[in-house]
C-alpha cells in the first residue's frame, strides 16, 4: 500500500478505480471545451465559405466552398475602415492615459507613511460602489462641452478603481521598504525613486493593466453610444452594432456601386467575416499574453 504512493506528477501509480474517474473527468472537460469552441469554429468557418453556402445553411463545421468574398466585402466597407481606425486611436491613446494616471495614483497610495492614504484610497474605491448615474454624467459631459468629441471617450473612466487597487497592491508587495530607505539615504527624492526603481520594477503589473485597459477600450460601446453622434468619430463596436444587430447595411458607403446588389445577397457572409475581423486582433494576441491576464486576476484577488 505505502509502496504504491510515490511522488506526485508522472510517477504516481493510478489504481483501477481511479482510472475510470480520470477518464470521466477528461471526457467531461473535453466536452465542455468543445462546447466553448464550437460556436467560435462555426463563425470562422462560415466566414470562409461562399455566400451561397452560408445562405443555404450548409456550414456545420468546416468551410463549405472556401472563399474569401466575405473578407473582400468587409475591406470594401468604408464604415468598417473608419471604425477600425477610430478604435485603434481610442485604444492606444486611451490606454496611455489610463496607465499613466493609474501609475501616478498607485505609486502615491502604495506608500504606507503617506498621511491621508486611507482617505484617498477610499475616495477611489467608493467609485466602484456608487456613481451619479446616466443623466448626471451626461449633463457633466454637456457642461464640459466634450459631447461629440474624442474626449468623451478618453476621459471618463481614465482610472479604473479595480486596476488601481491591483497596481497599488503589486507595488506594495514587490518593492521592499529597505530599497526605499536605502535610496532615501542616498538622497533620492520620491520622484527620482519612482522613475529609477518603481517603474522598472513594475513592468509586470503595467503589462497586466495595459492589457486590461486596452481590451476594455477595444470592446467598449456604451460611452460612444451615449456621447457621440458624429459618425466619423464612431468606434468599431458602434458600426458593428449597426451592421450585425440592427441589420442596417450602409449601402451608400460601398465604394463600387456595381457591387451593391451582390452585397445584399452577401449580408450574412459579411456578418461572419466582420465578427472575425473585429475580434481576431484580441484573440490572436491573447494566448501569448495569457500569463499576464491571469496574473491580474491573482493580484486582484489578494485584496478586494
Amino acid at each position: 500500500m505505502i509502496a504504491s504512493v510515490k511522488h506526485r506528477k508522472g510517477g504516481e501509480r493510478i489504481s483501477n478505480r481511479d482510472r475510470l474517474f480520470y477518464l470521466l473527468i477528461n471526457l467531461f472537460v473535453g466536452l465542455l471545451t468543445l462546447m466553448v469552441l464550437y460556436p467560435l469554429i462555426y463563425i470562422v468557418s462560415s466566414s470562409f465559405s461562399s455566400p451561397a453556402a452560408v445562405s443555404a445553411g450548409k456550414v456545420t463545421l468546416w468551410p463549405v466552398d472556401f472563399s474569401l468574398r466575405g473578407y473582400q466585402a468587409v475591406f470594401e466597407y468604408k464604415s468598417v475602415f473608419i471604425g477600425y481606425r477610430n478604435t485603434i486611436f481610442y485604444t492606444v491613446v486611451g490606454t496611455l492615459i489610463n496607465v499613466a494616471m493609474t501609475m501616478l495614483a498607485a505609486y502615491a497610495l502604495a506608500r504606507k507613511t503617506l498621511p491621508g492614504r486611507g482617505f484617498f484610497t477610499f475616495l477611489f474605491t467608493f467609485t466602484m460602489m456608487f456613481n451619479g448615474g446616466l443623466i448626471p454624467n451626461y449633463i457633466l459631459m454637456k457642461d464640459l462641452h466634450i459631447i461629440n468629441t474624442v474626449w468623451a471617450i478618453l476621459l471618463p473612466g481614465a482610472i479604473s478603481a479595480y486596476n488601481l487597487v491591483v497596481t497599488r497592491t503589486f507595488i506594495q508587495n514587490t518593492i521592499p521598504d529597505d530599497l526605499l530607505e536605502a535610496a532615501q539615504i542616498d538622497g533620492c527624492s520620491d520622484t527620482q525613486f519612482f522613475f529609477q526603481f518603481v517603474l522598472p520594477l513594475s513592468k509586470a503589473v503595467m503589462a497586466v493593466i495595459t492589457l486590461y485597459y486596452a481590451v476594455t477600450h477595444w470592446n467598449a460601446y456604451f460611452k460612444a453610444f451615449i456621447y457621440l453622434n458624429d459618425r466619423s468619430l464612431y468606434p468599431l463596436q458602434i458600426y458593428l452594432r449597426e451592421i450585425l444587430i440592427m441589420n442596417s447595411m450602409d449601402t451608400e458607403s460601398i465604394m463600387d456601386p456595381d457591387q451593391m446588389e451582390a452585397m445584399q445577397g452577401m449580408a450574412d457572409l459579411l456578418k461572419y467575416s466582420l465578427i472575425v475581423v473585429s475580434t481576431a486582433p484580441i484573440l490572436c494576441i491573447y494566448p501569448f499574453l495569457q500569463r499576464y491576464f491571469i496574473k491580474g486576476v491573482m493580484i486582484g484577488s489578494l485584496k478586494g
Binding site: 500500500m1 504512493v5 506526485r8 478505480r17 474517474f21 480520470y22 473527468i25 477528461n26 472537460v29 471545451t33 466553448v36 460556436p39 467560435l40 463563425i43 445553411g57 501616478l104 495614483a105 505609486y107 502615491a108 507613511t113 484617498f120 475616495l123 477611489f124 474605491t125 467609485t127 460602489m129 456608487f130 456613481n131 451619479g132 448615474g133 446616466l134 443623466i135 448626471p136 454624467n137 451626461y138 449633463i139 457633466l140 464640459l144 476621459l155 471618463p156 473612466g157 481614465a158 482610472i159 520620491d190 520622484t191 477595444w218 470592446n219 467598449a220 450585425l244 444587430i245 461572419y272 465578427i275 473585429s278 475580434t279 491573447y286 494566448p287 495569457q290 486576476v297 491573482m298 484577488s301
Partner: protein, 308 residues
C-alpha cells in the same frame, strides 16, 4: 497636542512630491466621479435644462413615488432580479466545479489547451457576442434553426422573440462566455494546496474522487464563499450593454430592466424626463450600495476579507 500637529504637518511636507503625483488623479476623480454625484439631487427636483442642476425647483419624493406607482415598476424590478438571480444560481457553481476538474487532470498539455480555449470567450465584446447569438439562433438560417427542423421536421420557433426563452439565452450565453475565466481564481486556490495533504489521503486509501471532496473542495471553499458573497452584493445590477442589445419589441416583457428603462425615459425619449430617470437610477444605486455594504460587513465577519 501642539507637537503632534507639528509632526503631522512635517510628515505632509515631507511627502509633498507624492501629493503632486496624486494631484492629477484626484482632479479627475472629483470632476468625473464626485461632481456627477451632486447631480443626483435632480432626482428630487423638476429638472429643466434652462435652470440647471442647482437652479431647478425641488419637488421632494415625487419622482421616486412616480416610479413606485408606475404600472411597469414590478415588471422592471422583477426582470432585473430574475436575470441576476438566475445568473448567480446557474453561473456560480460551474467555475468552481470546472476548477476542481482541471485540478484532477494529469496531462499538463491537454490542460493548457483546455484553459486557453475556455478563457477565450471572455475577450469577445458584447456586440459580437450578441450578434453571434443572433446568427446561431436564427430560426431559418442559423445552425439552431437547421438542427431543429432536421430533428423535428417543423420550422424552429424564434427564441429571440420569445419572452420565456430570453432569460435562458441571456444567462447561458453569459456562462458560456465567463465560466472559464471565472475559474482562474479557484485554480489559483487549488495550486496552493500542499501535496502532503494528498499524499496523506492516499496513504489512508482515499480514491481521487474522495480526495476532490475532502482535500480540494475544502481548499477552495473560503475563496468560493467570498466570491459568492461579493456576487450577492451585485444582485440588483444588470449592466446595460448586453441586455439592451438582446432586446426587441417581442421579448420586452422579460428583457426590460432598470438600466435600459432609465435610458429609455431619458436620452431616448421624445420628451426626456431627466429627473424621473435619475430618481430610478438613484433608487437602484442605493439598493446596490446597501447590498454591497451589508454583504461586505458579513464577509468581513466571516472571513476577515472585505473590500475596504
Amino acid at each position: 497636542m501642539h507637537s503632534k500637529r507639528h509632526t503631522l504637518s512635517r510628515r505632509i511636507a515631507r511627502h509633498w512630491q507624492l501629493y503632486l503625483f496624486l494631484l492629477l488623479p484626484l482632479i479627475y476623480l472629483l470632476i468625473f466621479h464626485y461632481y456627477p454625484m451632486t447631480g443626483v439631487q435632480i432626482a428630487f427636483k423638476k429638472y429643466s435644462a434652462r435652470l440647471g442642476i442647482w437652479g431647478s425647483p425641488w419637488v421632494g419624493l415625487k419622482n421616486i413615488q412616480k416610479f413606485f406607482n408606475s404600472v411597469r415598476f414590478t415588471t422592471i424590478v422583477g426582470n432585473t432580479l430574475r436575470l441576476s438571480l438566475y445568473s448567480l444560481i446557474a453561473g456560480f457553481p460551474l467555475p468552481v466545479i470546472f476548477a476542481l476538474m482541471l485540478g484532477v487532470m494529469r496531462n499538463e498539455r491537454y490542460k493548457k489547451v483546455v484553459q486557453t480555449i475556455t478563457y477565450m470567450p471572455h475577450f469577445i465584446s458584447v456586440v459580437v457576442l450578441v450578434s453571434m447569438i443572433l446568427q446561431i439562433f436564427n430560426p431559418i438560417l442559423g445552425i439552431y434553426g437547421k438542427a431543429y427542423s432536421a430533428l423535428f421536421g417543423t420550422a424552429a420557433p424564434d427564441l429571440l422573440g420569445s419572452p420565456a426563452a430570453l432569460p435562458h439565452i441571456y444567462v447561458w450565453s453569459g456562462i458560456w462566455q465567463s465560466f472559464g475565466w471565472d475559474s482562474i481564481i479557484y485554480v489559483a486556490a487549488l495550486a496552493a494546496v500542499s501535496p502532503e495533504l494528498h499524499e496523506a489521503a492516499q496513504i489512508d486509501g482515499a480514491s481521487r474522487f474522495q480526495r476532490v471532496l475532502h482535500v480540494d473542495l475544502p481548499a477552495i471553499l473560503p475563496t468560493a464563499t467570498i466570491m459568492l458573497i461579493l456576487r450577492t452584493g451585485k444582485v440588483m445590477s444588470i449592466g446595460f450593454e448586453k441586455i439592451f442589445l438582446l432586446q426587441n419589441d417581442l421579448n420586452l416583457t422579460t428583457s426590460e430592466v432598470i438600466s435600459t428603462y432609465v435610458y429609455k425615459v431619458s436620452l431616448k425619449a421624445s420628451v426626456p424626463d431627466f429627473s424621473y430617470s435619475t430618481a430610478i437610477d438613484l433608487f437602484n444605486s442605493v439598493i446596490n450600495l446597501f447590498l454591497i455594504c451589508t454583504v461586505n460587513f458579513i464577509s468581513g465577519r466571516i472571513s476577515e476579507t472585505s473590500l475596504w
